[in-house]
């Protein structure tokens, strides 16, 4: 039985208790081998990624408040869900994020300054998903839910190309799409479930249920635990403790490898929480209680993982090193943000089409003449 009011399954997969003790629950059993293959170096890398993104995120929020960014979208609190799932991917996988997946982007190799540039109002994109250095991390999508269909179409293409299901996990491809609890209400997301199930695409739907869609609680979007939506569409689905990086890693790894092997689409619902505001334009005190926030701060994914790693013998020197590196990363982000220059006006006329287009060409020319006339002393 599931607790409908709390929207939580009997046993959301969990390896680490909130205090960091290693205590896999019943749900975790089948995923244990995936955790066992992580050695200390891999675990410590995950910790480092989480800490780096936290520092980056906090600094970006500061930069926004100081007028350096148009907006910031914090990932604070969702680092375990994001880093765990990202580390479970293989290089050949394709990732379709929403707009909060800074940690996933970092793990996949994008320069997070590109996200900064987007939220500073310098670009609508920011990176080239086709550049191998960017880890097949596709562009952010601000229109809620749209990317679920793009991901599914991409996975259909993989399927039609026969680029999966050969039994070679080093080469078989798969797709991961990220979306939120609010997004599950959009028609596009349901339609993506329909297409994915219908074509049995090699993909994982990774749902970060951070319990809020701006001011609207998840209970407005669903009266059934959200992972069961997937089941209703015929997509095997599982709910995890999304603040447990090991659960996020292991469950994504298993499901993604099943999908790449030809097992069809999967859905992972990560229960997590948006510790920060929805965006820097938002005031969460208007709609959620301090108690609720405090209860989730007590389940902080980084503190939990840190306690676990300490228990495994990680030394102060390691944590100090990560803290110093994270601090440098934040400082570097600030320095690079302040050095950003505004784009030239022609940017908006570029790449509107792939082929030549007379209207944009004409208007670009007109703008050039117009700006010249202003400079020529005609300005008022």
């Amino acid at each position: 039985m599931t607790d409908v009011t709390r929207m939580v399954a009997d046993s959301p997969v969990q390896f680490l208790a909130p205090d960091g003790t290693f205590a896999p629950n019943v749900g975790a059993e089948e995923y244990a081998p995936f955790v066992e293959r992580l050695d200390d170096a891999a675990l410590q890398r995950m910790f480092r990624d989480m800490a780096m993104v936290r520092a980056f995120d906090v600094e970006a929020g500061n930069l926004q408040r100081q007028g350096q960014l148009a907006l910031w979208v914090p990932s604070h609190g969702q680092e375990a869900a994001q880093v765990g799932s990202a580390c479970a991917m293989r290089p050949q996988d394709h990732i379709f994020p929403s707009y909060r997946e800074h940690a996933v982007g970092m793990v996949r190799g994008i320069d997070l300054m590109n996200v900064i540039r987007m939220l500073r109002g310098l670009t609508h994109g920011g990176w080239d998903p086709k550049d191998p250095r960017n880890g097949n991390f596709h562009l952010y999508t601000l229109v809620i839910g749209s990317q679920a269909l793009h991901a599914t179409g991409y996975a259909m293409g993989i399927q039609f190309d026969g680029a999966f299901g050969t039994g070679d996990p080093e080469n078989d491809q798969a797709v991961v799409v990220y979306f939120g609890d609010g997004a599950t209400s959009q028609g596009d997301v349901s339609e993506a479930f329909v297409f994915a199930a219908s074509y049995q695409t090699p993909q994982v739907f990774f749902l970060q249920n951070n319990h809020w869609a701006i001011s609207v609680p998840v209970s407005r979007q669903s009266r059934t635990p959200l992972y069961r939506r997937g089941e209703g569409f015929g997509i095997p689905s599982v709910q995890i403790d999304g603040n447990d990086v090991l659960a996020s890693y292991a469950v994504t790894a298993k499901n993604l490898d099943e999908a790449r092997a030809g097992g069809g689409p999967r859905l992972v619902e990560a229960l997590t929480y948006r510790i920060g505001a929805h965006t820097t334009s938002d005031d969460p005190t208007k709609y959620r209680t301090d108690d609720e926030l405090a209860s989730w701060v007590a389940r902080d994914p980084i503190a939990r993982f840190q306690a676990y790693l300490r228990g495994r013998g990680a030394a102060d020197a390691f944590f100090d090193g990560v803290a110093a590196e994270a601090k440098d990363f934040a400082a570097d982000t600030r320095r690079r943000t302040l050095a950003l220059e505004s784009p030239p006006a022609e940017l908006m006329f570029e790449n509107v089409y792939t082929d030549e287009h007379p209207l944009t060409a004409e208007q670009f020319e007109w703008l050039g003449r117009y700006e010249e006339s202003l400079e020529g002393g005609d300005a008022r």
């Binding site: 148009a70 907006l71 987007m118 939220l119 500073r120 109002g121 310098l122 670009t123 609508h124 601000l142 229109v143 809620i144 839910g145 609010g182 997004a183 209400s185 959009q186 028609g187 596009d188 869609a213 701006i214 001011s215 609207v216 407005r220 979007q221 334009s281 938002d282 208007k286 709609y287 505004s342 784009p343 006006a345 940017l347 908006m348 006329f349 509107v352 209207l359 944009t360 208007q363 703008l367 117009y370 006339s373 202003l374 300005a379 008022r380």
Partner: protein
């Protein structure tokens, strides 16, 4: 200088100064008080009061069954509003930002716009769809667009856009009282601008355009936030001895041509300004119609000053994309050169 939205003979006791967002809030409250079948629906409009706080406090006053924090689905919002209207409600839907109306586009254009006609008059669809729209706020993608032409193009929909708190207060109530679907475009960059609202009476009917500054050399026309740009341009022009007559369109569909034609017959020149891209735009329609109806009065072709025909650019370039007073004056010079 003629203040936009100043009404002719207000009794001071009924004049209140407030920003447009507050005026809309007051207008919505008045409509809800007047008719208990009026209900509001949208994302984050209840507890939060909307991301622009236009519906602030209304859930507290009227309860969660009249101010609905809906699930996150625009097609759902508009589609269920249609069913509610069939049940006798008068839904007022909020779309959070211009660029997010399109998941609801099918319900608006293929259902809402056509259902009155398909019911052969047996059922009215008094639904208002509020859309905060337009630029000047330095926001990210999909948050600064002007999509009104898509809707003006669709028969069965009415479209309006206030430019002042006074008009916002009255036009929202008139839109709610209308028996047809009304697309209500709110110039979000004007939400925080204060203006006098005469609580006693509207200035002119919902679908009227009107002259908000008289002049003699060139008529300039716009709706929404662009009206204030025109007024600014008119001030600058005046200092150079050029007299602009400014028309606030107010209604995008239908367009009230009488004041426009009258003005053009006087000045002989018309410039239509808009934030939206110019290709197949509201301004195109006005230019064509004025050319048809006032050809012999025109001393120059009707000129359009529009956003460029490109996606609304990243925020740092919005100042280049959006027509400003200089762009208006450049067109004024061109019109006068004929």
């Amino acid at each position: 200088m003629t203040e936009v939205g100043t009404v002719t003979t207000p009794t001071t006791s009924e004049l209140q100064t407030m920003p447009m967002a507050k005026a809309l809030n007051a207008g919505l409250a008045a409509a809800m008080a007047a008719d208990e079948r009026v209900l509001l629906m949208g994302e984050d409009i209840g507890t939060l009061g909307g991301v622009f706080r236009v519906t602030e406090g209304l859930k507290n006053t009227y309860g969660e069954h009249r101010v609905l924090d809906t699930p996150l689905a625009e097609s759902g919002i508009v589609g269920t509003a249609i069913g509610l209207a069939m049940r006798g409600y008068r839904p007022v839907c909020e779309i959070q930002f211009d660029g997010f109306i399109f998941p609801g586009f099918d319900q608006i254009t293929t259902q809402l716009a056509k259902l009155t006609n398909r019911h052969e008059g047996a059922q009215a669809f008094p639904i208002v769809i509020r859309v905060p729209y337009g630029g000047h706020i330095g926001a990210v993608e999909h948050h600064q667009e002007s999509p009104e032409a898509y809707f003006a193009h669709t028969a069965g929909l009415r479209s309006v856009s206030p430019s002042t708190p006074h008009d916002a207060y009255w036009m929202i109530q008139e839109a709610i009282a209308a028996n047809d679907p009304v697309m209500f475009f709110e110039p979000k960059s004007r939400y925080w601008q204060k203006g006098a609202v005469d609580l006693a009476a509207p200035a002119v009917p919902l679908h009227s355009s009107r002259v908000v500054r008289t002049g003699s050399d060139v008529t300039v026309l716009a709706h929404g936030a662009m009206v204030s740009v025109l007024l600014q341009a008119a001030e600058l022009a005046a200092s150079e001895g050029i007299s602009l007559e400014v028309v606030d369109l107010r209604s995008i569909a239908p367009i009230d041509y009488a004041p426009i034609l009258e003005s053009v017959r006087k000045t002989g020149r018309l410039i239509v300004a808009q934030e939206a891209p110019g290709n197949v735009s509201v301004g195109s329609e006005i230019a064509a119609t004025v050319a048809e109806r006032a050809f012999y009065s025109l001393e120059a072709p009707v000129l359009r000053v529009s956003g460029f025909d490109v996606p609304f650019p990243p925020a740092k370039l919005e100042g280049v994309f959006l027509p400003d007073a200089d762009r208006i004056l450049e067109a004024v010079d061109r019109a006068l050169a004929y």
